[in-house]
Amino acid sequence: MERYYQPEIETASREQIKQWQGERLVKQVRHVWDNVPYYRQKMQEKGLTPDDIKGTEDLHKLPFLSKYDLREAYPYGLMGEPLKNCVRIQSTSGTTGKRVVAFYTQHDIDIWEDCCARAITAAGGTDEDVCQVSYGYGLFTGGPGLNGGSHKVGCLTIPTSSGNTERQIMFIRDLSATILCCTPSYAAYLGETMKEMGLTPDQIPLKAGIFGAEAWSEEMRQDIQKTLGIKAYDIYGLTELSGPGVAFECSAQTGMHINEDHFIPEIIDPQTGEVLPDGEQGELVFTAITKTAFPLLRYRTRDICVLSREKCPCGRTHVKMSKPRGRSDDMLIIRGVNVFPSQIETVLLNQGYPANYQIIVDRVNHTDTLDVQVEMTPEMFTDSVGEIEKRQKELVNGLRAMLGLTAKVTLVAPKSIVRSEGKAVRVIDKRKI
């Protein structure tokens, strides 16, 4: 039998959901108008006042927010509450110039954790379960979000955070963890490691996994399900909107239910900004209608996907989104970390390298690899291997400081990176997702 964390909300009638959305949107627009001068000005530029927004049918009139606005308004410009009402920040993985710092009141955190609790319950979690959270804890939203959701469900929570694979496996086995939360690539890695240790799926106590923060394919899901002997569920979210749990998968495994009582989704044409009808592929835009400390309206996620309102066998009535099928900008997600090619370029230029480079992303043994190829220059070259390796290492360190992940740096011969006519091909993504 399908279980729900908040059945009256998750299976509410469409009319009910629409009514909640309308009321909450009107209230939220007023809240933003009164407390976020940055957005108020954007509304004024379009000749709008809160009185123009009478319900969800007026949503399309509101101006968009994008990563650009987050940067412009950094750090406090989009806050909807005085600092004294806030209890937490979370932040996206260290990205100079593109860093997002999101603020939360206690109520915002409750909303977020409720969303995560819905996801855990949809994956079969109850207070009888042992939930191991192997997402990173800290500024990254993965660990704190699922940790809070796990508490709300009443699972025994093991906050292992990421890394230290041996210890992860020890806890899974010794404390009989039944639910695993981490990135899909780490789940695959844990599975491979346990297989190498000679463990068969029936010797692994896990029964479900909640995996997100990076793109993964249906084939990868099948692989993980087989090696770990579990059912693998997808989860979606972004720091700007709270974190994981904005949408989550149910037993049907055919898309993720968006928590529409907190977030109104729209699909737009990324070029024109026009709202597209349900079922069409386009850029996903979210309006947060309940959280007050960081209340983003019409936030452009840059994720390309499709919404479906087909009746779901699980009984939930909230709209489903497909896995993101791409990006409308050049952002890469590597091992769960957001990476913009421009960040890599900044590091290269700072260290005196030419702007001619290529980024090669691949997935080896279910783990993303990042290889930055740079052309050797006469200025950089010396007859000493040690000296060149030292510079290579400085570059690796510089990239780690900027991106928060380790890249491989390969020095290549001059002119060996193909010059394309027009827009340079900076990124070669070989991952099959």
Binding site: M376, T377, P378, F381, T382, D383, S384, V385, G386, I388, E389, Q392, T410, L411, V412, A413, P414, K415, S416
Partner: protein, 143 residues
């Protein structure tokens, strides 16, 4: 007294070294000494040639990244202990050898060693003072 060595950057991929040697051959450049230093990522070919100016011009035109540096060329009797004697002197002078490589001259009975050391002039003076013969560019070109 020193000798000019040309170091050439080689990407770690099949044919990189052959590209270099072909370029040199096509321009009739004669190598006196050759050594290769490599890491898993890239290589450095270190060569000593008969015509330094021509070679650097050719490499530049062909798009090879290269650098010229001064190294010591030492003539060593081809007998057991020949190299050890030279290294002992450098050691006494606290001179660190960054790298070295050997090559044979046409003349039987002598070997030549190339040394890249920290403190080039000091090392050269010490070796000369102890009767070790350093070879100059001209002599090397005529070998």
């Amino acid at each position: 007294m020193s000798v000019k060595q040309i170091s050439v950057f080689l990407e770690n991929k099949p044919g990189a070294l052959a590209d270099l040697t072909r370029t040199l051959a096509e321009n009739e450049i004669d190598m006196r000494a050759f050594s290769l230093a490599e890491t898993s990522d890239f290589g450095i070919a270190r060569i000593i040639v008969d015509d330094l100016y021509k070679t650097t011009t050719v490499l530049k035109d062909a798009g090879f990244i290269h650098a010229v540096s001064s190294v010591l060329a030492v003539k060593i009797p081809d007998v057991p202990g020949g190299l050890s004697h030279v290294l002992a002197i450098l050691n006494e002078e606290n001179t660190n050898v960054e790298y070295m490589y050997a090559f044979l001259g046409a003349q039987a009975g002598s070997a030549y060693m190339i040394f890249k050391v920290a403190g080039h002039h000091k090392a050269a003076a010490a070796l000369t003072a102890r009767g070790i013969r350093l070879v100059d560019q001209e002599e090397l070109s005529e070998l």
